[in-house]
Symmetry: C2
Subunit: 172 residues, 2 copies
């Protein structure tokens, strides 16, 4: 069991539910026990997949959560899921009360930061084909649980583009 999870509330989420929609304020922090939630951003009317949160990850729409401003994103349940939820005020109480959990929070943030930094690294240093292959290798289960056009979006491609890459690869 992840450290500190005893302060969270367990919830089950049905596929298709929106955890967050644009305009909403974000009061909760989540831990994905089992399932999948997809994070979408909207920019100039275009919706893109930014992240898939699967088993074992902490998540929320962090920027509006922290700044207490309305979200500009979606968080959509892509698969029936079990999550643990804690409100921001409860989380703060826990942190106030426990230096150890505050440290755990800091280290978790550090880990999340590194993940993102390495992702930027990949985006900048690898071709789309290489990033597709790497995703296939590192998170093979995604390809079972999520349609390909969402993965294309996550990789920053159109469905057509990803299809071309797959074809190119199959001919080798």
């Amino acid at each position: 069991m992840e450290f500190g999870l005893q302060f969270y509330k367990k919830e089950t989420l049905k596929k298709g539910k929106f955890l967050v929609q644009p305009g909403q304020y974000i009061r909760d922090f989540y831990f994905m026990k089992k399932g999948c939630v997809t994070f979408y951003t909207i920019e100039e009317g275009i919706t893109r997949v930014m992240e898939f949160y699967t088993d074992g990850s902490f998540f929320t729409d962090l920027y509006p959560y922290i700044e207490e401003i309305p979200s500009e994103s979606y968080l959509k349940v892509t698969e029936d899921s079990i999550v643990y939820v804690i409100s921001k005020s409860d989380a703060l109480k826990v942190f106030d009360h426990s230096h150890a959990l505050e440290r755990f929070g800091r280290l978790s943030m550090q880990k999340a930061f590194i993940n993102n930094f390495q992702r930027i690294n990949r985006i900048k240093n690898l071709s789309n084909q290489e990033r597709y292959l790497q995703l296939l290798e590192k998170r093979p289960s995604l390809f079972q649980r999520v349609p390909q056009y969402l993965i294309a979006s996550y990789l920053g491609l159109t469905p057509v583009g990803l299809s071309k890459i797959r074809k190119r690869l199959s001919k080798q």
Copy 2:
């Protein structure tokens, strides 16, 4: 003065110095008081600019710092700089001793995480031209202190590519 900086040691760095080179272990955490340090990664022999750390930012090569493995990157002083330095062991002592500073550390990490997340957002949702214009708007001083080919690298372009974008823009 940034919170906690009293535990750091002030240092001046000459342009051209490497703060970190591939193979080195990273024992220190930095705060840039005044100046500029450039973070480079190497991937398949190709060196790319990942970040410019300028006035007011905390930085180090975080992944090898945390994991205590050799760095695969460069951190090069791009401009005579004044930084504040704290060793990892000293930082940990400070955190052990002060819940408030531990919290400051957590919140700083949170901020850094969000910055990176939004950067991924920009990379995915904006064209190179838009990202160039945004950089020009948000960090205009970079263009005074750093040569254009490094900015091209930072934007994920070749010098030729950036030059084309600039030309395209000047003809409007």
